[in-house]
């Protein structure tokens, strides 16, 4: 299992990059490791660039703020790259050598220049149809962050998938005290309103995570 890793998640406001980071951090900590999680510091709005950062380690994590030199980059929306909806240009700037990139897209979207940039770093690139998987198994594109998390766990041995699923349940069950910004609270209500019950939301998200996990597990084995 990999212990020390810095992850940068980039997407569009409203897609859940902050929630994904929260859930991953919670899972890592409940597995007995250390983690610190933070969003990009600034004013957020829907469809504007949004970033969050997850640090995890088997020793205390002191470092905070934006992750400038990530080991792994997760791109939650193609527009981060194709429309420059990003705080970091090019999207892989700062990526460590032999780093890993996951892009939510059904098909290749990188320009030759971007591909050359990644090749120069010896980076590994995976395209994940995360929104497609979210639509198929959770019935909403708002579950894209869940399928991205599932896909991450299938590709990299960070934390048990069951621990991530438990963290999702914790996040949405209302049992844990959770503070959301105004917009996040609205989105929480929005996703909850899509299902008759919170238990159904958790069940559908669990399916979406598991399917995405299995998808990349296979992908990883074939590479």
């Amino acid at each position: 299992m990999i212990s020390n890793i810095d992850i940068r998640m980039a997407g569009l406001g409203g897609q859940g990059v902050v929630t994904a980071a929260h859930i991953l951090g919670t899972a890592v900590v409940s597995a007995g490791k250390h983690s610190a999680v933070n969003p990009f510091f600034g004013a957020e709005k829907r469809l504007a660039p949004a970033e969050s950062y997850v640090r995890m380690a088997d020793r205390p994590v002191y470092d905070r703020g934006e992750i400038l030199y990530p080991d792994l980059i997760m791109i939650f929306a193609p527009e981060v790259i194709t429309m420059g909806k990003s705080y970091t240009m090019p999207f892989y700037s700062g990526l460590k050598e032999k780093g890993l990139v996951m892009i939510n897209s059904d098909e290749p979207i990188l320009s030759e220049k971007e591909q050359a940039g990644l090749d120069k770093l010896g980076a590994t690139l995976f395209y994940i149809p995360a929104t497609k998987l979210a639509m198929e198994f959770a019935g909403t594109e708002l579950a894209t962050n869940m399928t991205m998390l599932g896909a991450l766990c299938g590709l990299v041995d960070l934390v048990e998938i069951d621990t991530v699923i438990e963290a999702v349940a914790q996040r949405f069950s209302g049992k844990s005290k959770f503070v959301a910004s105004g917009t996040t609270a609205v989105l929480d209500e929005s996703i909850k309103s899509k299902y008759a019950k919170v238990s159904l939301l958790i069940e559908k998200n669990t399916t979406a995570i598991t399917k995405a996990y299995e998808y990349t597990k296979k992908l990883n084995q074939s590479k």
Binding site: H22, G25, T26, V29, S30, H34, S35, A36, V37, N38, P39, F41, G42, A43, V61, Y62, D63, R64, G65, E66, L68, Y69, K177, V179, S181
Partner: protein
């Protein structure tokens, strides 16, 4: 209130009660501290990155943990109103950030002057030069001589503990000064990390206004008895002397607070690896970033120690002198353009050319450990 809370001593809540692990943000840690602080009144005015904390404290009011809470007209109104509540004998809490701090600044020396044990959170951010809502602690430099005690928290754990410790220290009869608990906004308020919390069914015992050197106001002790003529501006020598001695008493009270800071905060500074010839001295988030840099430097075989400055006022002059006795290089990384901590340290030391005021980060930029590592290596090269 969802739960019955038992009144306990600061020693019990801080040192004896068992603690459980929580994975929370700094804003949530503030609310957890306030929940256990037995607050009479809290007054809010929103500003990023403080808003979440005071919002959560509003929730605590709704749940019955606080006797009174409202949103005031602006930051000046907040600081004036909590002053009034404190003069009336209540335990109060509020918080603000950057421009809010400056807008309210007239009230901070007033708090100190009337000897009120107010605890205020400062979630530091940029002020308007040019406008920024991002992390930066330049506002601290404006408050250094406001008479309040100033503690700088490294992370959410410190923030939680220093708020409770702030009340314990501020309310001692021979201290009775306001306490500002400062953090670097966003870095601490918006980061989710592990915080160890005592149970929520205990809280500090209520504030006893009879411990105050200045009697609490009520109908029999109206304000005019305390602030009447001598301290106001009568142009005669007796009024000047009264004013001056009152000032001296505030400075003396800060000096007397040191023994309580030593007791509750385990020292005004914390020193790791004091024998190292190269030291990094920092406060707040810059301490956390320095810990990462030191880990890398030690791995490369470069021996570097750390001084974490916890109390900015009173300033630990003697403690820093002792800790740096054998140091050849003292690097002071800071999250502000002015370099106020380096200035304070330089003013405390002999041979202060040892002090290097760098890196200075501002405008919302992060301070990657690599910057500190480079600064250390550069200083070594320059000396050789």
């Amino acid at each position: 209130m969802n739960i019955e809370q038992k009144n306990v001593s600061p020693e019990h809540i801080l040192f004896e009660a068992p603690r459980d692990k929580a994975f929370i943000t700094g804003s949530e840690a503030v609310a957890e501290a306030v929940k256990r602080a037995n607050i009479d009144m809290s007054i809010a005015y929103p500003i990023t990155p403080q808003s979440e904390s005071m919002h959560l404290i509003g929730d605590l009011y709704a749940q019955g943990y606080i006797k009174d809470y409202y949103r005031a007209e602006n930051e000046f109104a907040v600081m004036a109103a909590v002053h009034g509540a404190s003069l009336g004998g209540g335990r109060v809490f509020t918080a603000t950030s950057g421009p809010g701090t400056l807008r309210a600044a007239e009230m901070f020396p007033v708090w100190a002057g009337s000897r009120q044990p107010i605890v205020c959170g400062f979630m530091c951010r940029g002020i308007s030069l040019p406008p920024s809502i991002q992390p930066e602690n330049i506002e601290m430099t404006f408050l250094l001589d406001s008479g309040m005690l100033m503690f700088h928290a490294e992370n959410a754990q410190d923030f939680f503990d220093m708020i409770l410790k702030g009340y314990a220290i501020a309310e001692k009869p021979d201290v009775h000064l306001p306490v500002g608990v400062f953090v670097d906004g966003f870095f601490t308020t918006h980061t989710r990390e592990i915080v160890m919390l005592p149970p929520e069914d205990i809280r500090l015992s209520p504030y006893d206004p009879k411990c105050s050197p200045v009697p609490a106001f009520d109908m029999e002790t109206p304000p005019m008895r305390v602030v009447r003529d001598p301290l106001l501006n009568k142009s005669n020598f007796i009024s000047y002397a009264a004013n001056a001695s009152w000032h001296q008493e505030i400075l003396a009270a800060a000096e007397r607070s040191k023994k309580y800071i030593n007791h509750y905060m385990n020292g005004l500074i914390e020193v790791d690896n004091p024998k190292a010839k190269i030291l990094i001295a920092a406060s707040g988030t810059a301490v956390a970033q320095s810990r990462e840099a030191i880990r890398d430097l030690q791995a490369e075989g470069i021996d570097v120690g750390l001084i974490k400055v916890k109390s900015i006022r009173p300033f630990p002059e003697k403690e820093i002198q002792a800790a740096t006795e054998n140091a050849e290089i003292i690097i002071v990384p800071e999250f502000n353009a002015g370099g106020w901590l380096a200035r304070e340290i330089k003013a405390s030391l002999d041979h202060n050319s040892r002090v290097i005021s760098a890196p200075r980060i501002f405008g919302g930029m992060p301070m990657p450990k690599e910057l500190i590592v480079n600064e250390v290596k550069h200083a070594i090269k320059k000396r050789a």
